[in-house]
């Protein structure tokens, strides 16, 4: 979902320091199952993706302690695509073709996912993608373990519309200008209008990547919110721009009781960068929060802290998604008795693992999961307090809200004959229209 400032800078940086680090040991290849880890460890996305690399290594370590898989040890092959989208494709090819990994866990931004897609299709391998994204995609070779828009954005808006959430009548959609916010806002705008919100009560504003001077925007939110109707801000602002945005919100004294801000890209890690005391009560919608009070989550956090040897490290939603994806893959391999791509893809449909937040995550035929949606309020210690939790919601690849996606389904029950964009009206499997 998140992109990053695309510039000559990034392009050069990738070339300069993208040395793949291979942890492959010279041990006999027959004794191990290789697992590819494709996350940026340098460049702008390192801030988010390094944690996911650590998480995957942690999960592999745990699995090996349990005796590995199919009687073999798992072996991680870590590469660094350096926040550079074309390099993601190269590194993916290297992992599958040269290192012969059985599966790849990786990617964060939609751009990187789109970049590796052709490689996974061509070489027929599996990618587990652990981040919430804009939807509008369902591929044979990708399992989407993060949230689709109907598992994050729409329940969050529903909560704010409810009496408990403050019966919000007026909406600011504040966003960074790229594909994830554009698509999400398209869905949200349609959804709000369907719910009877007038066009003049919706304000959509886009800012560039890495935007840091939020004075005018925050003042405009204040002004828009002073029209007498309860107003809320739905933020799809990208990672780096969030800190200055929240600092400005706090400084201009926009309190959550007056104009709540609900964010889809702000988690525990982002909040670590500043003092959240002025922001208490602003919201975030995720499928997981570190503060979730379940025995499974407590055990997960405990063993994570032991593995990383730092009990201050936070956990976040993409980490849970990585955890679910890894365990689903392990189950599917055990069920299929092999790591062969088509057998695993066939076996994985319908498998379930317990969520860390309660309930179970089931792999749907459209390669998305069922997940509960949690709304949390920011606390003074940088954690979230959960104020609303739904039952598990099935992930919807093609949004029912958008008119052009009505009647479109995805079904990969049989990976050989499945279809990612099936039009139930014309009964044809067509290619998805270009975004």
């Amino acid at each position: 979902m998140r992109g990053s400032f695309s510039s000559v800078a990034k392009f050069l940086s990738a070339g300069a320091i993208a040395a793949g680090i291979s942890l492959a040991s010279p041990a006999n290849a027959e004794d191990t199952i290789k697992v590819g880890v494709l996350h940026s460890l340098s460049g702008t996305m390192a801030i988010s993706e390094t944690t996911l690399k650590d998480t995957t290594l942690f999960l592999i370590d745990e699995q090996n302690k349990k005796g590995g898989l199919l009687g073999k040890k798992l072996e991680a092959v870590v590469v660094d695509p350096a926040s550079d989208w074309p390099l993601f494709a190269e590194k993916a090819r290297e992992l599958i073709a040269v290192d012969k990994v059985a599966v790849v866990f990786g990617c964060w931004t939609s751009s990187s996912r789109k970049s590796v897609l052709p490689v996974f299709k061509e070489l027929n391998s599996i990618l587990f993608y652990p981040v919430q994204y804009e939807g509008e995609e369902s591929e044979k070779n990708v399992i989407y373990t993060g949230a689709a828009p109907n598992q994050q954005a729409i329940p969050a808006v529903d909560y704010l519309m409810s009496e408990e959430g403050g019966s919000v009548k007026r909406w600011v959609l504040e966003a960074t200008d790229y594909v994830y916010p554009r698509t999400t806002n398209k869905i949200l705008e349609q959804y709000l209008k369907d719910k009877g919100v007038a066009a003049e009560d919706i304000k959509i504003n886009y800012t560039p990547f890495g935007f840091s001077d939020w004075q005018t925007e925050v003042a405009a939110i204040k002004e828009f919110g002073s029209a007498g109707k309860k107003t809320a801000v739905v933020s799809t602002i990208n990672g780096d721009a969030n800190v200055p945005f929240y600092k400005e919100l706090g400084n201009q004294g926009i309190k959550a009781e007056d104009i709540p801000v609900v964010a889809f890209s702000v988690g525990e890690e982002e909040l670590a960068g500043f003092d959240t005391t002025p922001l208490v009560g602003h919201l975030a919608a995720w499928n997981y929060f570190q503060s979730v009070d379940t025995p499974a989550n407590a055990a997960f956090i405990k063993s994570w802290h032991e593995y990383i040897k730092n009990d201050k490290r936070t956990t976040n939603d993409p980490m849970e998604a990585a955890y679910l994806g890894f365990n689903l893959w392990v189950q599917a391999v055990e069920k299929a008795g092999t790591t062969d791509t088509d057998a695993v893809l066939k076996a994985i449909i319908g498998l379930s693992v317990p969520n860390l937040t309660g309930g179970t995550a089931t792999v749907l035929p459209n390669h998305h999961l069922t997940k509960p949606v949690l709304i949390g309020e920011i606390q003074a210690d940088g954690q979230f307090e959960i104020v609303s939790q739904t039952e598990p919601v099935p992930g919807d690849a093609w949004s029912d809200v958008l008119p052009e996606d009505k009647g479109i389904e995805a079904d990969w029950t049989d990976p050989m004959t499945g279809c990612g964009h099936y039009d139930t009206a014309t009964k044809t499997c067509g290619a998805a229209p270009a975004p």
Binding site: I47, D177, S226, G250, E257, D275, G281, K312, V387
Partner: protein, 546 residues
């Protein structure tokens, strides 16, 4: 860790105020029976949000003066339930455990680990209710600040049932500022009641005389339900406020523009030295800014350990520390890399680009990829009002700081011997050398000065941006833009360039949006450079090579 401590301190101080408050009222005759109120307080810990709302209403109905601090604690998240007997208690983290106190009489109840107690949840809706409740209960409080926030919360809520209480408070009020707020609140309430038309007319006049956005909102909201006779008056009130607000918008854009200019100036001024004066295309400039921001973080952490009492002034120490550290790094870079590349701009560009990547990854390896917390001092937090617009303190201080840095730099260049030598070397290196100036030393010092200033900019930027390894990348392009636009080699040009770009950007933004505004500025610069390739203030004379 730092965050925790700050938080604990804050909570602890609130907590002690609370206890003082409790003791003060403990000697007064209790309003309700002790047992009743205690049971009502315990009810706060039961059930979901709707139950809690009822419990709050019941507590407010007692009128007991011990209630507001308890509600405040609830809103602040320091009220917990003891799991063993579901008693509601005040808890403050001390060490690994929580120190417990009775919310009603403030007596200590020992301490428990966090697993034994559970925080009482509140959400935004409840916080609003609590704020209003505290407002009604504290409108007659002897403390000025409490009364002020009480008046504000009543203004926000404007419930007709408050009218009687408000009249009583107004009669007793002496503070003019609180009185104005109360009068406004009263006028808003009067418009909601079925008071006689004349009273309403007076109320509209009161509201119009306030002339701010809140007043306009109130009028817009009452318009549909107002009696016909009153509508023209309200209409004209709305439009007259609208006119004055439009004027204020211009002032606001100007202020925001100046603030953006100060940030641009700070980021660009170091580059004006290394690129503008020395001619080195320094792609690592942004990383110097980033190193300055990290120095601030380190200084704050060290001071937290050594002199926690001086934390408020940590930035004062961070500025020279950042200057020295990044200055030294700059001298190191110049001596080790750049001096071999003078006169070869393409190689310099690539070499400094490489340095910027090395520095970024080095910082990422040492400090980790996540954002670091730089605590803003209290004197830089919050806003102040200028007429109808509010401006944040940190922006004001950054403007002041930018001006100070600019002035200091001018003095160094124009009034010191080092400055004279710098100007001489840049004007004509060989001539300066034959006059006995140690040009390599001057080169190193100049580059160090430019880098040091970038480091000081980093201290300021740590207050408004994230302290992350990517911090510098966001500023490098803007910095080059300002320097090139202002005219290479001219500090005044940099100043004028920064102000022009900043103000133009902020005037465009409200109409065109941030993305288009940025594009428009870039197009304007391209057109401008076509006309005047050397920027606003081009250096003239033989010294400039073709």
């Amino acid at each position: 860790m730092q965050c925790d401590r700050r938080l604990n301190e804050q909570m602890a101080s609130r907590f002690f105020r609370l206890i003082a408050f409790l003791i003060a009222f403990a000697v007064q005759p209790a309003y309700a029976q002790m047992g009743d109120v205690a049971a009502m307080v315990d009810a706060l810990g039961q059930g979901g949000f709707p139950d809690r709302e009822k419990a709050i209403a019941a507590l407010v109905a007692t009128g007991d003066l011990r209630v507001p601090p308890i509600l405040e604690a609830l809103s602040d998240g320091t009220l917990y339930v003891r799991k063993s007997d579901s008693k509601v208690i005040l808890s403050v983290k001390s060490g690994g455990d929580f120190a417990l106190t009775d919310p009603l009489d403030g007596s200590s109840m020992g301490s428990l680990p966090s697993a034994e107690i559970e925080k009482i949840k509140v959400n935004n809706g409840l916080r609003t209710k609590i704020r209003t409740a505290i407002g009604t209960m504290t409108l007659l409080s002897p403390d000025r600040d409490i009364r002020m926030s009480a008046a504000e919360s009543i203004l926000k809520n404007a419930d007709p049932s408050m009218l009687e209480l408000l009249d009583k408070a107004l009669a007793a009020e002496t503070d003019p500022q609180i009185k104005t707020t109360m009068e406004l609140a009263r006028a808003v309430i009067v418009l909601k009641t079925d008071a006689p038309i004349d009273a309403k007319r007076a109320a509209v006049d009161t509201i119009v005389s306030h002339g701010n956005r809140a007043a306009q909102t109130v009028l817009v909201n009452t318009l549909p339900s107002a009696p016909e006779d009153l509508k023209p008056l309200i209409q004209s009130g709305i439009s007259s406020i609208g006119n004055s607000l439009a004027l204020w918008d211009v002032v606001q854009n100007l202020l925001y523009g100046l603030s953006l200019s100060s940030v641009l100036l700070l980021a660009a001024i170091g580059l004006a030295i290394t690129f503008g004066v020395m001619g080195v295309i320094n792609m690592a400039h942004g990383e110097m800014v980033m190193l300055g921001a990290y120095t601030t973080y380190v200084v704050q952490n060290v001071m937290q350990q050594l002199a926690p009492g001086l934390m408020e002034y940590s930035l004062v120490f961070a500025v020279p520390a950042a200057f020295l550290f990044t200055g030294l790094v700059g001298v190191g870079i110049e001596r080790s890399v750049i001096r071999w590349l003078y006169g070869r701009p393409l190689e310099t560009l690539l070499a400094t680009w490489g340095i910027s990547l090395i520095l970024q990854q080095a910082v990422r390896s040492v400090f980790g990829p996540t954002n670091k917390l730089v605590t803003p001092p209290a004197w830089m937090s919050g806003t102040f009002d200028v007429g109808n617009i509010s401006f944040t303190w940190n922006r004001l201080w950054i403007i002041v700081f930018a001006i100070a840095v600019f002035a200091a730099l001018q003095i160094i260049l124009k009034r010191t011997s080092l400055g004279l030598q710098m100007r001489a070397v840049t004007a004509n290196r060989r001539m300066a050398s034959s006059m006995g100036i140690r040009t390599p030393f001057v080169d190193a010092m100049t580059f160090g000065l430019g880098s040091g200033i970038a480091g000081m900019a980093g201290v300021a930027l740590s207050q408004i941006d994230n302290v992350s390894p990517n911090l510098g990348q966001g500023y490098i392009i803007d910095s080059f833009m300002v320097v090139v636009f202002g005219g290479v080699g001219n500090l005044w040009g940099t100043l004028v360039g920064a102000v022009t770009l900043g103000v133009a950007n902020k005037f465009l933004e409200p109409y065109a949006g941030a993305v288009l505004a940025k594009i428009a500025i870039l197009v304007l610069i391209i057109l401008f450079i076509q006309r005047r390739p050397r920027g606003l203030f081009a250096l003239k004379g033989r010294a400039i090579e073709a």
